[in-house]
């Protein structure tokens, strides 16, 4: 679905965010990009979305560039617009006709029936994030990029949204690239975990997780956490 090859990125202030970053995400995969704060995970995600251009290396889409949905760490909603208008934004920008039906369907899929006309300030943190996910889904993306979407939420909400994300991934055959700094989140949600080094970020480990992680406390999930933690420890020391 997407391949980063030897990507380097330096910011205007001189910080080398990424150096020689390479990884691929296959169609239908759920991949976590895990690393310490400031390692360039978010930069990598923005590069993958085409919001930034790399200084070196290249970003390739083996097929055509897929339709991309993006979810930020903050809900990033328009405070002056209700949930429906927010979810409809991608369609409005693309001049898609009959956008309301798609946006309503997307809101329903994240469990927000009846809140179409609520304004962001009337919604809880978790519900705002659901609107944000509905907005990403509204344009029917093939590739969903999420930048620590649940980091600002409480654990109960985080777990509920994680399960919803898994369900949406399975139902739609989405490809998901999920940036996180949570070992437990990545161990339960993803099929593969890419572990990044501190800045300048590159991939230190590519861990394929076994099946059977049916819940957060099943033995294989706990075992996955141990493997990921070890890899993260090595990446930090490297």
């Amino acid at each position: 679905m997407i391949a980063l090859k030897g990507v380097g990125k330096r910011f205007a202030n001189g910080t080398q965010a990424l150096r020689d970053l390479s990884f691929t995400v296959g169609a239908g995969e759920f991949v976590s990009l895990l690393g310490p704060s400031g390692c360039g995970k978010s930069t990598a995600l923005r590069l993958a979305a085409g919001l930034l251009t790399p200084d070196t290396g290249e970003i390739a889409y083996p097929d055509d560039k897929p339709e991309i949905g993006f979810v930020f760490q903050e809900p990033t909603l328009m405070p002056w617009a209700d949930a429906l208008t927010n979810a409809r934004l991608p369609l409005d920008l693309k001049h898609v006709p009959r956008a309301d039906a798609s946006a309503l369907a997307a809101l329903a899929r994240v469990g927000l029936e009846g809140f179409e006309h609520a304004y962001p300030r009337e919604l809880s943190g978790g519900m705002k994030m659901r609107v944000s996910i509905a907005r990403a889904l509204a344009a029917n993306p093939k590739l969903l990029l999420l930048d620590e979407p649940f980091a600002a939420l409480d654990e109960i909400t985080r777990n509920a949204l994680g399960d919803d994300l898994l369900r949406l991934w399975r139902e739609d055959g989405l490809t998901v690239l999920f940036v996180t700094h949570s070992v437990s989140e990545s161990s339960y949600l993803s099929q593969r975990v890419l572990v990044m080094t501190p800045r300048p970020g590159r991939i230190a480990g590519d861990i394929a997780l076994p099946l059977g992680r049916d819940n957060r406390l099943s033995p294989s999930t706990i075992e996955a956490q141990r493997v990921i933690s070890e890899a993260l420890g090595e990446a930090m020391a490297a």
């Binding site: 919001l51 993006f70 930020f72 934004l89 991608p90 920008l93």
Partner: protein, 260 residues
């Protein structure tokens, strides 16, 4: 109860001050050409009602014209600045120069250039210059305050500059623009009055001219009546713009929600 107090307390203070004023003028037998009693001012207001209202209408027309012109020009300039950093860097200093130069210093020039035969246009231009800057400053800040992530998101979906402006930047700027408009409303009135003062005798027909004229004739009670009319007008303009602000922002902006 709190609402009632908000209203009742200022009214009580006004009644007290007016009562003391009336009493003091009578007690010390202050001449009417120094300080007229409130009752004398009320009488002057009633006697000159038609001419004062005509004068108010004239000043109000200039105020409204310049307020609308300043809002349109200020917003349009801010939008142009938001589309081009180069344009902003080039022209913003001149907007500041226009703002810091005392308007009474430029007013005679504008009166001469526009001509005394088009006095109302000249007055409106002067008042527009006074009211322009807070609109420009508010709208410029507002257009820059758009959430970077929302801008990125619109880029991701291939939005044009115009779409980003219309859907993201302008709604973000609205509270800032309205705040600028509240300042500009009062400034437009001040600008209109100052312009009338500069224009001087025989040309202007507004409230400021009535104040000058009454002063010259030592009709201090009429002067006070005109002055109070001006103050009330200023308050009403502010109240109207505050209402507009509340109507537009009450569903979503923190500032309006805190009030309700």
């Amino acid at each position: 109860m709190k609402r009632l107090l908000d209203f009742a307390l200022p009214v009580a203070v006004a009644a007290l001050v007016l009562g003391l004023w009336e009493w003091a003028v009578a007690h010390w037998q202050v001449p009417v050409y120094v300080l007229p009693a409130p009752s004398a001012i009320a009488r002057a207001f009633a006697d000159n009602f038609t001419s004062l209202m005509t004068a108010l209408l004239s000043t109000l027309t200039v105020t409204m014209e310049s307020f609308v012109a300043a809002t349109i020009l200020g917003t349009a300039t801010a939008i142009a600045f938001s589309q081009s950093r180069l344009l902003e860097r080039t022209l913003y200093p001149y907007a500041v120069i226009l703002q810091v130069t005392p308007v009474v210093a430029i007013a005679p020039l504008i009166l001469i250039w526009v001509g005394f035969d088009r006095i109302n246009l000249a007055l409106a231009i002067i008042a527009t210059i006074v009211a322009f800057f807070p609109i420009l400053a508010g709208a410029t800040l507002g257009l820059k305050s758009a959430d970077f992530n929302l801008i990125d998101l619109s880029r991701l979906y291939g939005a044009s500059q115009l779409q980003t402006l219309w859907r993201i930047r302008l709604p973000t700027a609205l509270p800032y623009l309205l705040s600028g408009m509240k300042t500009a409303g009062g400034l437009a009135l001040i600008g209109a009055v100052v312009a009338e003062f500069v224009a001087g005798s025989g040309t202007a027909t507004g409230l400021a001219w009535r104040i000058v004229e009454s002063g010259n004739r030592l009709e201090i009670a009429t002067l006070f009546a005109a002055l109070m009319l001006l103050a009330v007008t200023g308050v009403l303009i502010f109240a109207a713009l505050s209402l507009l602000e509340w109507l537009l922002l009450r569903r979503w902006h923190e500032s309006a929600i805190a009030q309700s």
